[in-house]
């Protein structure tokens, strides 16, 4: 009788206990995946804001060409600047019209003269933007207003951090629960099968031989639980992909399939195997004394 057959036989003999172990691992990986996809989405949101012009400097009306160029030159002199875009009054008007093309009432009374010209500045290092904001705030003779997206990013960063931390805590708790459930379950099964183990030992089975079916059982719970945890969460998330992405427009919250998903599946199966293996190995070591 092969070890795998013996293991499957053990699983069949106590289906409800086995179901509990499987479901615990399954839920653990379902939650893990949900958080992974949520984190990926939040990273997209964050990077969207990070790559947008992070500071907009609105200029006062009536500045001559030389002053505007001097401002541009000064901005370009800062380190780690990614992009500087000058939005003239005319360009501002065309952008405004584009944004409100479905609402002619909002556009017909607006002319280029009432819209301010501006500089949109993005940087690789957000600290530079802070310096720029401080420096230009003092130049009230040329600057009308400064809009700095630091607050939005800061708020997003805080939220992302909170979600990441809580996901790590929650997943750790679930991993611990899955570990303890498999550990306890294997202990119960060993106790139920102590006669079988004792007989096998008397017939010459090594300690490892009698432990093997229980260790394999843990591996089966871990691998199958993690596999289905991934597949189910993946199916749910990708079925809702269009609706979620529509909600977050123009940000792509959930990306199309890449090599990341199969790699993630593999990594999760390995993680599931590791949880099942370590819990059942420790369980077998703790309970098989004879």
């Amino acid at each position: 009788m092969k070890i795998l057959n013996l293991t499957l036989h053990h699983i069949r003999r106590s289906p409800f206990q086995s179901l509990v172990a499987f479901l615990t691992v399954f839920i653990c990986f379902l939650i893990l995946n949900s958080f992974i996809f949520l984190n990926r989405g939040l990273s997209s949101v964050l990077s969207y804001f990070e790559t947008k012009p992070e500071i907009t400097i609105f200029l006062k009306d009536g500045l001559d060409e030389a002053t505007v160029q001097a401002v541009q030159k000064e901005l370009a002199g800062y380190p780690d600047i990614k992009e500087i875009r000058y939005i003239s009054k005319e360009k501002a008007l065309s952008l405004y019209k584009e944004m409100n093309k479905d609402n002619p009432l909002l556009t017909e009374m607006v002319t280029a003269s009432i819209l301010p010209a501006s500089f949109e500045v993005s940087a690789y290092n957000p600290k530079v933007l802070e310096v720029i904001a401080q420096s230009f705030s003092a130049k009230s003779q040329i600057v009308d207003e400064i809009i700095y997206q630091k607050d939005i990013i800061q708020s997003l960063l805080t939220w992302t951090q909170v979600i990441r931390t809580s996901s790590i805590v929650l997943i750790s708790i679930f991993v611990l629960i899955a570990f303890l459930v498999i550990f306890t379950l294997i202990g119960m099964k060993i106790t139920n099968r102590k006669d079988e183990i004792r007989i096998s030992r008397l017939l010459g089975a090594s300690k490892f031989y009698v432990k093997k079916p229980f260790i394999l059982e843990g591996i089966i719970y871990g691998s199958i639980g993690s596999f289905f945890g991934f597949i189910i969460s993946f199916l749910i998330i990708y079925n809702l992909r269009d609706s979620i992405n529509f909600f977050f427009q123009p940000i792509t919250f959930i990306y199309a399939l890449t090599i990341f998903e199969p790699l993630l599946l593999l990594a999760e199966i390995f993680a599931g195997i590791f949880i099942g293996l370590s819990a059942s190995w420790l369980g077998a070591r703790r309970y098989i004394k004879w």
């Binding site: 036989h9 079988e196 007989i199 096998s200 008397l202 017939l203 010459g204």
Partner: protein, 220 residues
């Protein structure tokens, strides 16, 4: 496989089962161990299997002292050369008779290709052809005893330890079992150590006998 008891003493609390028991079983011997209940017949089997430890003295199996084995798995290797017929059968209840035999063949790492034919062979030998797919709970005492014999024989052991193997058999089946053991002993030079109360076997067969007395041993 030679088995030697060198001044073995075994006590269960205040009750002394053996004191300084000396015994030598040569390879190929057929030995009956007899004595009244509580004389230590099963204890002797358990000591050979290293299931229990003596209070003092050495038990040497194949030249190795069981209480001084260097490696942990050495006792497993010794047990794999011994076929055991337990008094209470010790079959695994949720495996069929066939699966019980397959399990021990897997334990001793019997060649894969020969396993099925070996199972058939021993099942036929003990006349359980129509019972091999049943679970132990579905068999009578006599059938269980024969299933236990089939399991012991399947691994082609060097030694067979049989603890009251005829206790649950009718006279015909009991003699059949004795004949099987005799054949194995004669054909393969397998050492047979059998405990029994049945004086008919002892008197009818010209075999070595170890007679154990109650509380104190006597060795003839």
């Amino acid at each position: 496989m030679e088995i030697v008891f060198d001044k073995v003493t075994k006590n269960y609390g205040p009750i002394s089962v053996f004191k300084d028991l000396n015994l030598k079983i040569e390879p190929g011997d057929f030995i009956f161990i007899t004595g009244p209940s509580g004389s230590g017949k099963s204890t002797l089997i358990k000591l050979i299997l290293n299931q229990i430890k003596p209070n003092s003295g050495d038990i040497l199996v194949d030249g190795k002292a069981l209480n001084h084995l260097k490696k942990k798995n050495e006792i497993d290797k010794i047990r794999r050369k011994i076929g055991v017929i337990f008094q209470d059968y010790q079959l695994i209840n949720d495996l069929t008779i066939e699966e019980n035999i397959a399990l021990i063949l897997d334990i001793v790492n019997y060649p894969n290709a020969k396993r099925l034919s070996r199972i058939d062979e021993v099942i036929k030998m003990v006349k359980l052809q129509h019972r091999h797919f049943l679970f132990p709970s579905q068999l009578s005492g006599g059938e269980l005893q024969r299933a236990s014999l089939a399991r012991a024989l399947s691994i082609e052991p060097e030694v067979i330890l049989a603890d009251e193997p005829t206790g649950n058999l009718d006279p015909t089946n009991a003699w059949n079992l004795i004949k099987i053991l005799q054949n194995i002993n004669k054909k393969y030079k397998t050492t047979i150590i059998m405990t029994t109360h049945n004086m008919d076997f002892i008197e009818s067969l010209d075999k070595k006998v170890i007679k154990l007395g109650k509380s104190e041993h006597e060795n003839t």
